[in-house]
Symmetry: C2
Subunit: 432 residues, 2 copies
């Protein structure tokens, strides 16, 4: 089967999956959970073959760790399925109900988006998580995992597909892609794929965004800022900035640039440098920063760099507005924080920083679907439409307008004897 066939089959399956009720979808999720348990030996065996191969190929340690899918990971995946089963059906919820006229009622009802294409790295647990999120939200899914995890992904996809079929889910709702050519092929299928979610490195995500007309949900860069305002408590500022930079440097919500108001710089920077020295973080500062603490020189290029490492760019700014201007110019509209005791300054910062997540006296590292309480995270989006910041299952949904009449026609609402619309808000669900 070509990738176009797989996508076409997913499109067909998606319309049937959209109509599947909560019971059927939960039965499928339960069957998947049980099948993962029953097949655990074979899954672990396939995974250990992937790992052995990866070791022969000298895969880097962190990637090897991500690749591992053992009994503990299977337990985690099953627990994730249990919490998904416990969730209310997100499809078919009435978002708005309006009487247009007597007996003519309009409902805005949640529904799945359709066919989701997901491209992810080596972690096989992502395959289970994403396919089950898509199932619960009624979406068909095309998955492409890392080639290092090919054996694990194949047995997981087979296990999930077979279990779902036992609950009579339509064939083809889950398609597993295995080659790079498949990914390239997928990007051209804007007729049959509605949304692409790429998880991976900046370059990879950027490549996807640049090479498809399909909407992409995700983020390329994560150039996050902490701005230490004139009215900041120095100790709190050191704590929040240090956590934003150091708590985990290799992730998109770690701070890459620190902005410091000139009135607090002489107080704050020395204390902060002591902390950074202790954590082994290299500071690269502007000229004003270098006038206060010893540091390497930072320039234009640093403001645009996502280090993902123990390096932090530092710039002294003349005002809150200058900080905002810097963030809106060089940032990636991901997550930016202000530390200040001045409520008005905080409000102005949040009103004018054009980022998905704006924080006041809190670490940028909180920007995460689990920490936000969204449940499983679909991804983090720096898009300006549809879904922004950490995205939970909600990001896999859209709505449909459903109008129910009894032979109503538009001609009756035009001309000299036109009937009027009532446009009355109804307090009822669409199926009632």
């Amino acid at each position: 089967m070509t990738i176009a066939d797989t996508a076409r089959q997913a499109r067909r399956a998606s319309t049937r999956l959209a109509a599947a009720g909560a019971e059927q979808k939960n039965a499928a999720l339960t069957a998947i959970r049980d099948a993962l348990r029953e097949n655990s030996e074979a899954i672990i065996q396939a995974n250990s073959e992937d790992i052995a191969q990866a070791q022969r190929d000298n895969l880097a340690k962190p990637l090897l760790k991500r690749l591992k899918f053992d009994a503990a990971k299977i337990d985690e995946a099953c627990a994730g399925l249990d919490s998904l089963i416990a969730l209310a059906d997100p499809v078919g919820k009435t978002l708005a109900a309006t009487e247009l006229d007597a007996g003519l009622e309009l409902y805005k009802v949640t529904c799945p988006i359709g066919v989701i294409g997901v491209i992810f790295e080596s972690r096989p647990d992502a395959l289970v998580q994403i396919s089950s999120l898509c199932l619960k939200s009624g979406n068909a899914v095309l998955l492409k995992g890392g080639s290092e995890a090919a054996r694990t992904n194949r047995i997981l996809a087979e296990t999930i597909t077979r279990a779902a079929a036992s609950a009579k889910l339509p064939d083809g709702w889950l398609g597993l892609l295995e080659t790079r050519a498949d990914v390239a092929g997928m990007l051209a299928l804007d007729e049959d794929i509605d949304l692409i979610i790429p998880r991976g490195s900046n370059e990879f995500v950027r490549h996807i965004m640049d090479n498809t007309r399909i909407p992409v949900l995700g983020h390329a860069d994560g150039i996050c800022h902490v701005y230490v305002d004139a009215a900041a408590d120095t100790e709190m500022a050191v704590k929040v900035a240090a956590d934003s930079k150091c708590q985990y440097v290799a992730v998109c919500n770690a701070a890459e640039t620190l902005l410091v108001h000139r009135d607090i710089a002489a107080d704050f920077l020395p204390a902060f440098k002591t902390r950074m020295d202790a954590r082994g973080v290299e500071l690269r500062g502007c000229a004003k920063t270098a006038g206060i603490i010893a540091c390497a020189a930072a320039g234009e290029q640093d403001w645009r760099t996502e280090y993902l490492d123990n390096i932090l760019a530092v710039r002294v700014v003349d005002s809150l507005d200058a900080a905002v201007e810097h963030i809106n110019t060089y940032g990636s509209a991901h997550t930016d924080a202000i530390v200040t005791a001045d409520r008005r300054a905080a409000m102005r910062f949040m009103d004018t920083v054009d980022s998905a997540d704006v924080f006041w006296n809190a670490s940028t590292r909180f920007s995460d679907g689990f920490r936000y309480g969204l449940g499983a995270e679909v991804g983090i989006s720096t898009n300006k439409i549809h879904a922004r910041g950490p995205v939970g299952m909600e990001g896999l949904l859209i709505y449909q307008w459903r109008l129910i009449g009894s032979g109503h026609i538009a001609a009756d609402y035009t001309g000299p004897d036109a009937k009027s619309f009532t446009h009355k808000t109804l307090q009822k669900d669409w199926e009632s």
Copy 2:
């Protein structure tokens, strides 16, 4: 100024406009309304020059009519501004509030998208409507109107800009583009334009969609269907199908294909043909249709054609599922209706037709922002993300996550002594 400069200036203005309060925005809208009244003579004069030129250029009658911007149109525009002023500020609404932990509160707050690019046809009233909708929702806007309306658009944009400046709106929040080259330039500015809304012909919208990486809100085709189910009331079916086809043939929500269940075809089709003959509508039918009524032959190409004329394709289908399959294959995911007395059939139709608007016993012509009670319509979208179907001001909004802590850091929530998140839903607004 180049188009890139105009867009950059709009981007700058957008962050300030995002922070503008309801009072300031309403003051600007009021000033715009008053200025339109005060300048009405000059505006009408400019418009009559456009019209004179268009007459010399032999512009088609319907286009001439759309081009007209007289005293009545100015009154309409002012009334539109009044109702916009009366609306609550759509920005800063709390969509969700969650306590992550004691003193750490997360708010999901509505905000403008940023910079909207709008390309519209000859109607100058669209310029007033769209720019005021953008203002109310806090968005900067780049507008390109039809060249026939150049003089009218210029004086309207000047009037609006000057009035808004008197209410201290940031310079550059409204940019008027005047040439085709500007449109091409605009499509490349994905750094500074967040969303493009094209209003115009299918080919034009398709051209825009095919030539930009900026998200486009709109629809190219409107191939809408009416499906007459086996359990339909014949009289109601004739009425709904006739209205869907004939009430206004030149619009996107007019029906282009009629699907008829084989069990009702012999009853329904002759009655329907009588009605269509009276309305001067040509029917193009499949072989089964032609076996029942006299009609031209329809083929594959007809199922894909948006006639926008007094022509209707007709196909007899074997089942509801075959009708749905036809719609999902050939339709444009715009608006599709079923006529039936069978509730289960209607539910199945609405659950499986993958269109923005699905109607039961109502004309497809109701698919419209005004009829839906959405207020001014931004456009009709056949996208699968962000906004679907008729889109009101809501489509110009997105949200921002705002986290308020008191020095909270992520490190406290990991490791052996990790604090737990409370994830408690809060019943409060973010500014309270």
